[in-house]
Point group: C2
Chain length 156, copies 2
């Protein structure tokens, strides 16, 4: 089993060559892009989003680091082109609509197909952080739905 310790810091973008934007490699240095609180319409509890990157077209990809304090979670939502979660620390829960809640831990990779209604977050007792990767379809990469009720959150 191979283990790599990964340190991902909130970051901002700085071009390290004088070329025209989009034609040169850029490096996002750590620590200068502000953290964003997870909004009350889309999350419950204490959630912090640290933007990592937003690729330019023709790429469709963006990524961010999302940290959920114990009890915190997303609302129910779907992604038009799906989403991949790299669990980077802690222990969390993910649930697909109509399925049982599942536990995920650091080192696991979650693949969420397009259009699948789901939520993810921390467990009730432990925080969880993941890298979230999603591709945009017509400039949209998520469709937010209703909140996850406490009853839904707590049920097995």
């Amino acid at each position: 089993m191979t283990v790599a310790i990964a340190v991902l810091l909130s970051a901002s973008f700085s071009t390290f060559a004088a070329d025209i934007q989009g034609e040169s490699i850029t490096v996002a240095r750590s620590g200068s892009q502000p953290s964003v609180p997870g909004g009350m319409q889309r999350f419950s509890g204490s959630v912090r989003i640290d933007p990592l990157f937003q690729s330019a077209a023709p790429s469709r990809l963006s990524g961010g680091l999302v940290t959920f304090e114990p009890g915190a979670r997303t609302a129910w939502h779907t992604h038009p082109l799906g989403q991949t979660l790299l669990i980077t620390s802690g222990r969390g829960w993910i649930q697909q609509w109509g399925h049982e809640k599942q536990e995920v831990v650091a080192g696991e990779v979650v693949s969420i197909p397009p259009g699948v209604k789901h939520w993810h977050g921390a467990t009730s007792t432990t925080g969880m952080t993941h890298v979230a990767l999603q591709e945009a379809l017509d400039s949209k990469n998520v469709n937010w739905l209703e909140q996850v009720t406490d009853e839904q959150y707590r049920q097995p």
Copy 2:
């Protein structure tokens, strides 16, 4: 500055619901997908690739964890839709053709535009690991070119 300690392990995929493939969330458990040595045509030195995920269409995304021992690097190459590197440990070098070599360290995020000829790897004295994220165009996500010579690798 926000720091998250990330543990990314080599992993394999296991469906945790009995649905038709592609309609249910899957979790890649850690440690059961074999590491792959970086091939001699595409890499120099000791390189280990730990596959993380390969999303199904309509997603174009795949990701892997790549570990370079000191002195190890890719050959020169391009990506039809670009590439994003999340540096997860150590210290490495990246160079765009015709530009100076740049140092990257854990926590930084590198954005490589489509078609830009480049290489990346460890420094001569320190290992480096990154998550590599790339989208495929017509099922191809990389075009391999010539090796990076020792002279190219060592020059500032």
